[in-house]
Symmetry: D2
Subunit: 344 residues, 4 copies
Amino acid sequence: MKLYFETDYMAGTHSEILERLVATNYEETVGYGCDQYTQKAVELIKKAVGKDNARVHFLVGGTQTNSTVIDGLLSRHEGVLAAESGHINVHESGAIEACGHKVLTLPEYEGKVKAEDVENYISNFYADDTYLHMVAPGMLYISFPTEYGTIYTKKELQDIHSVCKKWNIPLYIDGARLGYGLAAEGNDVSLQDIANLCDVFYIGGTKLGALFGEAVVVCNDSLLKNFFPLIKQHGALLAKGRLLGLQFECLFSNNLYERVSRHAVDMAMKIKQAFIAKGYNPVVNSNTNQQFFLLPNDFMDKLSEDVGFELWGPRGEKETKVRFVTSWATKEEDVDLLIKRLNF
Amino acid sequence: MKLYFETDYMAGTHSEILERLVATNYEETVGYGCDQYTQKAVELIKKAVGKDNARVHFLVGGTQTNSTVIDGLLSRHEGVLAAESGHINVHESGAIEACGHKVLTLPEYEGKVKAEDVENYISNFYADDTYLHMVAPGMLYISFPTEYGTIYTKKELQDIHSVCKKWNIPLYIDGARLGYGLAAEGNDVSLQDIANLCDVFYIGGTKLGALFGEAVVVCNDSLLKNFFPLIKQHGALLAKGRLLGLQFECLFSNNLYERVSRHAVDMAMKIKQAFIAKGYNPVVNSNTNQQFFLLPNDFMDKLSEDVGFELWGPRGEKETKVRFVTSWATKEEDVDLLIKRLNF
Amino acid sequence: MKLYFETDYMAGTHSEILERLVATNYEETVGYGCDQYTQKAVELIKKAVGKDNARVHFLVGGTQTNSTVIDGLLSRHEGVLAAESGHINVHESGAIEACGHKVLTLPEYEGKVKAEDVENYISNFYADDTYLHMVAPGMLYISFPTEYGTIYTKKELQDIHSVCKKWNIPLYIDGARLGYGLAAEGNDVSLQDIANLCDVFYIGGTKLGALFGEAVVVCNDSLLKNFFPLIKQHGALLAKGRLLGLQFECLFSNNLYERVSRHAVDMAMKIKQAFIAKGYNPVVNSNTNQQFFLLPNDFMDKLSEDVGFELWGPRGEKETKVRFVTSWATKEEDVDLLIKRLNF
Amino acid sequence: MKLYFETDYMAGTHSEILERLVATNYEETVGYGCDQYTQKAVELIKKAVGKDNARVHFLVGGTQTNSTVIDGLLSRHEGVLAAESGHINVHESGAIEACGHKVLTLPEYEGKVKAEDVENYISNFYADDTYLHMVAPGMLYISFPTEYGTIYTKKELQDIHSVCKKWNIPLYIDGARLGYGLAAEGNDVSLQDIANLCDVFYIGGTKLGALFGEAVVVCNDSLLKNFFPLIKQHGALLAKGRLLGLQFECLFSNNLYERVSRHAVDMAMKIKQAFIAKGYNPVVNSNTNQQFFLLPNDFMDKLSEDVGFELWGPRGEKETKVRFVTSWATKEEDVDLLIKRLNF
């Protein structure tokens, strides 16, 4: 029997969402998110993030969300600051550049950026006599948790936010796996903190129990004022928009978003402890649903016979970096089986 | 009780598809369309269109499909020919131009273009001494059925295809409502004809029984060779790609695609006859699921109290053009109720 | 001996400018327009247009000027309104669309747009329920004189400007041949009027005595605040920027701009009268340096043996529309020779 | 008296070119490079580079040349490999990204890239399971000489060219200062070698004696087949195209290009030796017209009182990197004065 730890988007949707989709399937509503389910989801999210004047928009997937938001926030002569390892810099097939904007890279520390690096980048930029010939840093992109599963402390977020405010550039947080970060061991950041410490962020659904869908929260209401036609222009407007509303209504009812997040993190922690016990220390200090290990190739090859996981970068000569991912859908019995197989 | 004839994307998905989505919901598969359901759907579609060497890709919605395909087909200095009324020219928020390409407009005849207009456009273009300063016609976009519900005859398609071949430009068919066109009364074009008479087309799912999803069929296999990263770049790659595969597997099993199409067309024909009987002749000669009438404003206002339909353009002073749309989800009892209400 | 009436950019530069270029050739100045000649030209132009707070930028050519200005004025979801015959819509190889923006076309009346058409376009746009799926009219482009040599009256400009102010969209005037418009018989618009009745315009140099160069005047100083990096991004920043400054300093000293403009218009009027006397009425009511006639093909062919002019569109079956253009460089003796040849 | 060593584009044009521009100023020729001077220049360049089937196009400046060429060479899903320090990556205000393409950076060694780094980048790219989600390396950009004045040996160019051929991606050489590289002490690369070892390159005119202008040489004639409308679309088509032709005709007559190059390099070598003698070793091993030194701030400040040079990056705390540049226009007496001033 094959075990699946490749990604967090392998199964369909959480049972509570599935039931709602089935129950409402034959209803007829207006399209493009002008329906009541979407309106309800917007209200629930505004309440959850603690921002009455926030605007909330629903898109289908992460790459399209990033490119649409960033395209809307930047002026033509500006680029977006991001960690070297940021998803927009690596794994979106150049979607940001396809909109005309350069990704300006910062050093990454287990996927995170440092406030002082942002400060230095911007102050050095304006200290350079030739800066008018260079791409101006027009916003900052970070991910929470990062592509390596790490999270920012509240203090780190505050510092980053302060630098952005000082230089008057928006801070945008990619929350493709937001729930898994909020549920992480040792996390001291709340959903409300996120909303208070950035200008725009999105709450990932695809990887957290929804079939698909991401909820963009515009906290700074002076931004993205013409977002609807931009969503359409980016091909990111779902005809049957209520499907997005329905799913987020579910996720933000009865603590579903928290429940699915906590489950995945618990499963990841079990896996992490098992690898450590076996002598394989994680190569990244992640307390979220992604765990990274450097495995000897022969061990890795054996394990891969009936366990699914991903190589993280090219195969090494003797050892290779791999990633194990849990999700809302990960069954505890599968985790136990995986742990047993570590001992072959 | 409210009746809904606004659009063909108001309900969820056909029961046969819903059952499949539910049945497979907890399965874990690889993402991005590399799963077996998608593979199966590809095979079914290749068989249905009669092209062994076709390539098939699944995207989420129509606008993103159009912009991704067109972006992939054109060189930087080229634009896309389309009817003045073409969806890409009117209702996609400039998605084509956002990719850098001009939409070059042709006269429309109830939404259709004429082969001779295409021929004239291109031959006049190259006859103009200044053509190197103008946007070269690099492909032709047509829709089947058109935005007005009309369809091309086989002869018309052949003529258009010939002009495109003569000038060596790809012909792309937007099939957002393809099934409703194939099922239209008087239609003499088969799905295989479509595949033989163009270079690329797509089979619409969103409006024909799927929750969402469009299947791009690349008939001319010398084109769109690097389509996967382009889909990703356009934000059009669904993480849980199997959802698309599953739905198209269903649509192309047990004639589901034909059945849902025929039903909608039958319902539309009943509506059409009722309006005609009542003295309101259609303003467009459509035999598909969209019907257009010019209604006196007071009659329209009364009708709109408990019947949903769309204005087609701005409200007129005395009369207004309106659109009634049926779909796979339209219930015959609702059509009968509508017809009854025409007689208030 | 061949006579040249094809275009107004066939000769080099006016003798007064040539002298200055030669006199200063070996001076060493900083690049990119930060030199004193450019500063001087900016001051002269601000004075000439009567706007102390205007900003002035120098670019090399017309197409790059149009695309850089329009790219800077529009938001991503917006397009630019222009006459069907507008240069940006026809003869710039899709430069506007290459920046991501649709050209939204208006009817043209000898190349001009009507205020009421602008008003109708915008009010119909916002009256349409589906406008959020369409490209918003974000600015208006007009040319003075137009591509057909016609000019707006002051009243017409005021009306157009009012509509733009009402809808809060910038008005941009392409002044590639501005001087020839200001010098036209019957013109009641001054350079200061132009500056007062639009938000941004440019003063064409290439066609009016300079070797090359266009001066963008930003009258509404809330716009185009980051124009310098945008000029660079568009590849429109001349390294030896002082060449532009020097030329415009010349053009705006000793009334050179007016003198070259008036000369060309005088020559064009002589040609116009000669054609009329010969029985060929102009097909466009132009009093500027471009004159359009419909000539019988045999007459045209004979004439073309030793006179240069351009076909305006494709050759007709029996008659063809042609264009005769004069410039600052047109010699009166050549005009007289042309007139003589009309009588062969 | 102020001395100027800031850049190589501070003066106008070489006397031989100036004379030609003056002599031909009042001639009337067709526009857009269809004139005889341009034709002549094309022939001279084809002969000089030793490629009968090359195509040659003239543009105005470097940034527009780079973005037009790169835009023409890449497919939409591809990016351009370049040194971290490459001009397109640093000092073109994001012109490449504005066309939709990512700049993929390689380590730089005094501005140069290594063939093995190119090989590793590409082979690692295709070894990565997720490469279809990443920007494909579609071409390589290098500069000769580099932004730091260094040059590639023939062996290095051959190795780089081999890697590009192996992976079937075009190699494009930015020759903004090509002549200064060819004239460098120790250079073993000829103009013909350049043409044989890349697919496209350009011969810089702006910095080598012309008023402005760059000559693109398409060595691989299967590429850039529709370059003319792309030049227009990029706003890079000069109306009075003959000005470019004339200047390059001059540069490639009577060895002018070599003469101006050699002069500048000789002057730079004198400066280099003087700094070395004074104890300031160059921080880059450049034998071309750009020389870089790390100077103590107080020394630098004193020197800057009557000598012009540029900071290379932000001012350091105690020492700052500076750049001295010579050109065809640098007078030997000024170099001698500079050297004298090093001894204050």
